[in-house]
Symmetry: D3
Subunit: 327 residues, 6 copies
């Protein structure tokens, strides 16, 4: 019986070592990642029982992914192994200023993109859960996947489970109009929404003088209760400043800022989502932002998409403990 | 102006190091391979100008493949970069007795499988060439690819270019009946055919007391002039005995046998095909078998699908030079 | 609710790559292993729910071990994190004839060696289980650990759970007389015993003309129902012949023999134990020996102590399928 | 028929991983590099046909170099394999502030240093070419090499091919006076000269209040048409600011400045030269500086001497696109 | 006959590559380190004959350590191999802001912690020596080790050998009160003391407005002649500013400051101690601070605990030479 | 004061991992080796004080070599650092049947090849020594090196030090006639000679029906007291049978035969020489052959040229201990 349920795709990630370009590579480092899995992992690392729901091909790559899902502490009880579809892959090149990191997706026809309504027993899945989390990537995978997200959100609400969504618009997966239409159907079912100002404008034409105005626009348009955003100052590829900001009931909250040296920025936003949900589970938005910002900041320092952080170090970071080695 | 033209797919090959199972892997070694490319590379290493013709996606993986095609000495002048399709991949686990090595293909919808008649300027491609080589894998990729093979064979014969085909039946790509039908259309255009007795029986119901009888059956059924087979005694995964056998004009020829310690057996048959064509280019079947067996044997000792051997060592092996380090 | 429960230590294993001597090493490959965990993993890979019970230090090495326990499919629900004791380690050098592989243990004062009676809720642990498995290594760790093994065996029998023990005498952990005394107390509670003829003689003075006589001696001395042994012909470090033999109700059974090329022989006996228990769970000794021999043979081909094999390939090996790559 | 011809040495480069000192190394990463080859590669990556002319030993290291020359897209048609001389090597230690990176050359008696006038068929080499590029390193290799450079420059001018030279004074190869004498003979044949103010003063005593004055001095002394320099602010080993500056017809031009995080700074100047020649080929000095600065900046982010950049990212950098990952 | 003798523990250090968390690791990089060994190595790299005295287990790990002690140029003539005790280990995770690097010690019951008075022939060891160096870690290992340090200090003073101590309080090894008591007995025998203001306050309650006041307090309390401290500004994990400060005869001296890019900060303080002793051997405190700061700064750029620097580069750094690659 | 002194070259050895061809390599494993150094290391591993005398360039590669000389336990007290000459290198490709391993030397103009008579203080070097060992490679390096060998042999005999020589003819270094002439001058000063029958015939025309006759011929021609040979049956690259044979005072002795699985056969003969000298130091030829064969056999199992074996395992191998892991 999980506190939190997440639903989405996980991919095998393949990256050349040592800042190599893919064309130069003679070996690739293998990690796994996927927005909702990353968030599930963050919650598991904080001690919550979490279910990650997905659909994977019945082959060694599918097995590899569920193995590591369990390794990081997330339950794979409701993951389905399918005979159709393939395992999504993505290739990652680590950059350095002025070369941005870059991603080549090879995720078409993944097993989860072939998911259909009725495949998952949402009633069983949500039994005892408090939050359901999904990103805007999952409905972008295919019309079928979008319908399953809708189905899941309805089931969640029927079961009294709150819904958190990270908007995460991906232009490589779908066009702006299509995204706006589908997400516009899903958002009214969402309690807590993570969204950037750029996506709010780009998808929905919602603008404002500052985060609060944009958030208020999203609240008013879609009826979400809470809107959360990431603050990032990123003049370089290996250095960032990072914080979280949130809006609820007409008020704005902001976390502390973190100076970040970047080992691997993939999954930082998903780690933030985990901290947010952790805070909302038994606290409030402020607690969620504080945990979220610390977890997002710490994720930058860990290789791979998964947030292999510890609860102790999250809380130490929140208390501003220094960078000395303890001995 | 190439002596030999080959046509087919090349894939990125990803293999865990150190006999790991894919599920255990945290990194994958990256090589490239494809039956006809491997053969082209073998011919290039013997000093022949060779064209490898294919279709690749216009992305870093496609670029990676053509880079390495040139690296090994094969021309990529007629390789096309496409906006449709993806880069074929395959995952390889190295085994040890009693665990066979195993392969997971992820090659569906590759750019070359989307090839269509008319895409390639075969007249220009074959100008000055003497042999065209293709394997039975290429027509298995898709109906379109099969038609392009047929188109290419006709163009080859029109240009006075002889055709060599390695039957290479792949049960993961197509069924037996379908293969027999398509290959049955192609084979009458073939001069030199590489085929196993198992495939001859499985696909065409041609059987015999020994290789010569099966070869005679293939000659009589399809009108091919020459049939070549691999001899392999393989009681273990890391040890083989290896030789080549051929049949033409009613006579059978056999190469010397080689004791083989196996680093990587992928591409050994393709290296044999290269030696065969080298022999046929300015010699005869016996020369082709001698080079083919030596090259196939040596290929087992080289990591990757490509036969990074040297002409000197091929000829030294043919002369039975020993295994001492020269100093 | 697990089919099988195992209890024992798992260690972090550190081995230099590429047959290096430890003195030469600049990096070490990290795996985990432990006799009973290895057996649990083998059962999990065949599809059985399995509990591995142990005690680990509350630090990153303890976490690392439980992560990988879950990764391989074994439940860590009853593993305890302790503030006393350390994580057992062992250093492994891979050999080549005439240099045997060698092991340097650094496992003293491990958390599990500090275990005491009453620490584990055996009633809950054994609920629904059918077999309990432990090796002779666990009682060798400390007097406390030996008492906990005795406690567990009693609890198992009280719960109607059968007991399997792999004798596994380790001269680096305890002397012969001490071992004989402690094991002599435990063995009468055992249903299925895995033991070598050498250990039977060395510890208990039980000898015989062949395996059957020795097994009969063990049955008569300790009342065990079944005795199983490994057959191994090992003229070299990289090559073995391997089989399993068993004795029950006065009859002897033997599995097929396997030709084995050795990647990593650690854990082969533990994989055999998994196959044995799998056979005994719903079959008989013959089935257990067949699975056990195939699993033990396959384990030699997989790096690490854990048997990352698949049920399909175990059964293919039992049916004598060949070593060709499937494509 | 190449747009650009370059002539010089390429070496095998061996570098310990992970900022190790050479004394610590147990393995070395292998790349190839050489000033003129690096520039040729930069031009090839922009889409130009390029010839790199050189002389290499007829052994596996020579073969390795030509393989990778072709891999990066440069033609090796005019590279000669020699029975005399060896393959130049250099050992590289990556530093960190306050430890500078350092290089140990082992390039004496390389095959190209044994080159003599008459060995190369410059008429054939320059057929259809528009620019010839050489650095001041090549004439420093030996008196014979210096004469071949002179021979090549004359042949270039006879063929209507413009000459670009990167002064690149290397104190480890020759003394200041000797360099000044030899370069003084070559420079009057040069159209575009890349030179630092330090070298201008050190070798020729040409000084000035700023780059423009020094460039004017070089123009007036040697009759070169264009002078280009690198601007670099480098307070640390892992961070730079980088730009290009140029002078022609009495006017000074400057590129944008780039913030650079440094993976590998070797070959940055050579990448700048490639961008410069690209600009001069069909544009003007300003275009050359813009491409040159972007390519030089991007090269810092790529491991190895060769500029594995893409035309798209060069132009994106020139347009000031940000560092976000595109997805 | 060594200039300097040091006494203490060396451990095998195991660190995951690439900023991985220990839980993620599949391999560990192996280095050796120990405060007094690091200092001995720094002195050896400057050309001094040095003895490192210790006690190691008689197994491959003990042999590994002495091998590398000799490799770095330190004599192991007085290292004893023991049948009791184990080899100390420590596990290191490299961090990035805001995640501090972290250390997991596994050094309990090391052979040197079992040392007893009378085991070492200090008279022979100190013959001809000028300085004895020990850190506050050694007496923290065990009461026996503390007594041996006391014994050694007395022997040193009897032999006219000066004593340098680096206070280095380690809270994971002993409590504050216990440390203060033991160190309070040792310090009156010390000539040169390296101590942080934090430790002075924490252990001895000595405070002051600045370093000079604290140093004066230590001088007055314990009669040491010289006190040295490290200045470090460390806003990030990968960047520091670093300098040394010292106090003697009522005057304060400070070295130049260094901008440091950090590859591995372990052992920087020990390298500083080496530079300090080098300066005191034939110079004065100012010389010691200058060498110490340069060596400490350079050590940050070298992987491993040992200061693999060269005398030339230390002196170049002291003269403010830049970061350009020499060629 | 060493028991044994050896004199010769050591090189940095660079080998691609994983049976790669040099042309395929992206990294090279770095070891050091040289015939006389290897033998010195074997003696040091048995517990003898040994001096290795040589001449190395005063650069990081020279430092690297002496570091590792000390690491393996050999004294570098009489190694000279020179400003002339370079560090010898060799590139090694590991083979597999039917591809022999192969070596590319790049050792011309090494510092030791520039050695001259008078450079070494042989009187000091030989003080207290009992044996001097040199191979036939050292005089092949240059006429100067040959003279220094002659000088050293005279000094050895003057000091009552016995001389052991391993003939080791290297056709890549010198021609047969030249070798015969130079070695013919040196051999009369040799007490114990290691030589193959092939070299005896090839260089000196000495033939015989078996080893004894050839040895008798060498004894009679050159007055050496003892002749030793290696017996090797090597049908494959990864498997050998290995033994030693010797002749003295008219009698022939043979060691046991060893089945060898080959990790790295370089240096096996040099390890045999170490065992031989160990036996001769305080035993007789039979003891020398027994140790020599065991050490030679074991060396095949250790990566690198240096025999990182232990005295315990040498003696265990001599006693025919099996291949089981001790636990």
């Amino acid at each position: 019986m999980a506190d939190v349920v997440t639903f989405g795709e996980a991919m095998v990630r393949l990256a050349p070592p040592n800042f190599q370009r893919l064309e130069q590579a003679r070996s690739l480092d293998l990690e796994i990642g996927g927005a909702e899995l990353n968030t599930a992992a963050g919650l598991a690392r904080l001690g919550h029982p979490v279910e990650w729901v997905s659909r994977l091909p019945n082959n060694p790559l599918g097995a590899l992914i569920t193995n590591r899902v369990r390794e990081v502490g997330v339950s794979d009880r409701f993951v389905q192994f399918a005979d159709d579809g393939r395992c999504g892959l993505y290739f990652l090149e680590f950059g350095a200023s002025p070369r941005a990191s870059s991603i080549l997706y090879d995720r078409k026809d993944s097993s989860v993109s072939l998911a259909q309504c009725g495949m998952f027993d949402w009633e069983a899945i949500f039994r005892g859960a408090k939050w359901f989390h999904v990103s805007g990537i999952t409905p972008a995978l295919s019309p079928g996947a979008a319908e399953v997200v809708d189905e899941a959100m309805h089931a969640a609400r029927d079961a009294g489970v709150k819904v958190c969504m990270d908007l995460n618009y991906r232009s490589k997966l779908w066009g702006c109009e299509h995204a706006a239409e589908v997400l516009g159907i899903l958002l009214p079912q969402v309690d807590a929404l993570i969204a950037s100002e750029a996506d709010a404008e780009h998808l929905f034409g919602i603008t404002g003088a500052d985060f609060a105005e944009v958030a208020a626009g999203l609240v008013s348009r879609f009826g979400v209760k809470t809107v959360v955003g990431t603050r990032r100052e990123a003049p370089l590829v290996w250095r960032n400043r990072f914080a979280a900001v949130g809006y609820t009931d007409g008020r704005t909250y902001e976390s502390a800022w973190y100076e970040v040296e970047i080992v691997d920025r993939l999954g930082a936003g998903d780690a933030l989502a985990a901290g947010l949900i952790h805070g909302l589970l038994d606290g409030d938005l402020k607690k969620g932002l504080d945990y979220g910002a610390a977890m997002g900041a710490l994720k930058h320092t860990l290789p791979g998409d998964l947030p292999w952080l510890t609860k102790d170090e999250v809380e130490a970071a929140m208390q501003g403990q220094g960078l000395r080695i303890k001995r």
